[in-house]
Amino acid sequence: MPVRRNILNDAASRQKYVQGALALKAQFTGITTQSLGIPGPNRPVSTWDRFVAWHSAVMGTAHSSPLFLPWHRIMLRTLERLIQQAINDPNFGLPYWDWAADGQLTRPAQLTSAIWNDNCMGSAASAPGPFTLAAFPLRLASNNSGMLVQVNRALQRTRGAGVQGISNPSLPKKASTAAALTALPYDASPWNRNAVGFRNRVEGWNPSNDLHNLVHIWVGGDMLPATSPNDPVFYLNHCNEDRIWEAWMTRNGRTYLPIATTTGAQAAHRIDTPIQSPFGGSATPAQVLNLSSVYTYDTLSV
């Protein structure tokens, strides 16, 4: 069974993840931009880039809603299985980035954490580390309206710079992850950015610009738009989010809201509504609450 490990503590997980990312970027199975409805010339779309399109398509339902955690759990597990196939290792487990550990460092030290070594995610603002323009070209990106467009350029980051009004942020702190573990219930009406509960806290809306959201802001560049799965850091961030969710469920019970009979919640957000995947069948939030027999984490200390 795969064990998901801290990318800074396990060289094998790191090497296999980079290998897998490059392999899926180079894997074409016949899907084209035309078949996805993306404007511009009809070009092949790699398996890696299909995740970019998938994520972009579901921004409205899989984010700022109760589905945030189960939807990304399905996405992560799908990617994990496809990397297992690509590198021929059925026990490969996606690594995670314990960004709150780096958040305890000074801001300059955060920039030189080992995750940014050139044998890991790389430190360059453009085409970092293993993700060169030749090996890892960006082909799909969001425009300023959030719509997918075709591009051909290198991956970009603005680590630590922030955005207007949030300049030079720090990565999230351990105090924030600890506080998230005590947040109850899982989610609550109005089931969006205004909700009080664990999901909205760990997503980073309450308080604003914290945890998951802050990691996107801190990495910047291609981690800002809806096409953020372009950046391999995206999955390291979400794997850590999934780990925090697993820690929360271990502590508070494997519960989810809204249930089938909860009034006022969208049907799409309920525990028994299937989440569609372009890579096969569907799964409901209920079906993914307990995957402890499918993969585990090396530690749930967040």
Partner: protein, 163 residues
Amino acid sequence: MARKTALTRRRSAAAADTGSTDPITADASLATAQKNAAYFKKLLTGMTHGDNSVRELDYKGHHVVVKTTYDVTIDGKPFHAGLGVTNEGDVHYHGMPNVAFASALDLVKAVIDTFPGEFGKGGGGGGVDNGDHGQGNHDHGPMMARRGTRKKRAMRAPARRHR
């Protein structure tokens, strides 16, 4: 809008399915993709973004509804990309879905910073003082507030209180 209490919600939370098999399939083949291609194509091509937010509040027996509409132009061209505002007054936007901005002006500046190739070369603002002289945002007081630059205020925010 649901009005259940937190206690009620906790009591009605569902127990997890304790099944032990992997419910998630992963098949990158064209054949599998074609099975639900129409569904995802519709999602991708049918995305629409309203620039409206509705906030509701029950306060001292009164039900308050605040409707906010953003009407933003950049170089005179409409910018429609799903702007909204949270109960805390943070402004968010579909194009950068993980960021809560303190103001719509910060948001638009971030849009121009993040997508510089999409707006061409800036030609200046026609002599209008936008309140930003390059080093952070300082407050010009009530006049600037009337022009819609204050934190937690929409660029155009018709707010009506019902009841």
